[in-house]
Symmetry: C2
């Protein structure tokens, strides 16, 4: 059985750290921002262009707009927007990771990309607002006001990006096999619960 | 720390059995249909009246309609619909269980009733359609067509009942601390994962 786990998460929920812990425990690679670099390398898009597209996703209006503005080989059917091109490049990278059969992938609609692989386990990590704010203040040194602003912006960006590319609803339980409130159990505890889920799946198989 | 776990579930996901397993492992009472009887006893409503209200919930239209038709002390402000009266009676019973501090409560909007108690752990159990159908055929001996029909009817009833009384959305991850796809891990596995979650919560506290 493959060891592929995708992690979607609310900003400040500790989902990235949970992913790191699981990758360490399972002895498999962690794929996070690296995916962008790998995708960029394959697509020929520069890091700057990619980060700009990511920022645009924070506003659904500008994201939809820039996704609609096409560039490419002229006016032919091959014209494709920059956001689409980036998404497809990441799509290929994630598909390849899925084929290799092991890894923890954080974000990037990986649950959607790998939706037809029954071996993949999709996890959603979320938390209580007060706890997410506390975590961000500790981790990033931001003020409470800054954290609240970032939290709204990033979660909106993740929702926009996910909903736009997948025609699914970010956070809908049907997309995931396990959803965990990390505020009650912490990052180590969430990793424990996910590992227990993986072990239970092996026992059942 | 209290041992109160609420279980909401899709029809056929095995959520009731998972609740039973957890109650056995924790050595606490399981509250299911019994709640209705207890509520009925307190409210003075007959079992027949209560079951009729439950059935009405299967159609959102007739449920909303009958909830709006009031009966009571005349035309005064005290008039209250039968469905409201039943819900409030169950509300009181669940509140009392919460105060006693231990038990597994299946269904009945218990997560909503006990929403202000930080000790309560709310779980949502769901599953893959094929697996839920298989489980229902095995457990109830229904045909596949019967199961599909019941599945749609009961899940609709649960959604209507929950959304009507709580002004929340049934299945929305924010209502729960843990959501599990039982198809990947089975009923025993789901109980293992929930118990690991409870243990992780105690370690963190």
């Amino acid at each position: 059985m493959k060891k592929i786990i995708t992690i979607s998460r609310e900003y400040g929920s500790g989902g990235r750290v949970v992913g790191k812990l699981i990758a360490e425990r399972l002895g498999v690679p962690l794929y996070d921002k690296d995916i962008i670099d790998m995708a960029a390398k394959e697509s020929g898009l520069s890091r700057e262009v990619i980060e700009s597209a990511e920022l645009q996703a924070k506003s659904s209006f500008s994201y939809t707009l820039s996704s609609a503005v096409s560039f490419g080989e002229g006016f032919g059917g091959e014209a494709i927007s920059m956001n689409e091109k980036l998404f497809l490049a990441q799509f290929d990278v994630i598909t390849e990771i899925g084929e290799r059969g092991e890894g923890v992938i954080v974000g990037r609609c990986a649950d959607y990309v790998l939706r037809d692989d029954p071996d993949v386990v999709n996890v959603f990590v979320y938390g209580e607002k007060e706890d997410k704010i506390r975590r961000c203040i500790e981790e990033y040194g931001d003020s409470e006001a800054e954290v609240e602003k970032k939290m709204a912006t990033y979660d909106k960006a993740r929702r926009n990006y996910y909903n736009y590319h997948t025609s699914r609803k970010w956070g809908d339980y049907k997309n995931y096999d396990l959803a965990i409130n990390s505020s009650l159990v912490g990052e180590q505890g969430a990793a424990d619960v996910i590992c227990e889920f993986l072990a239970a799946r092996e026992r059942k198989a």
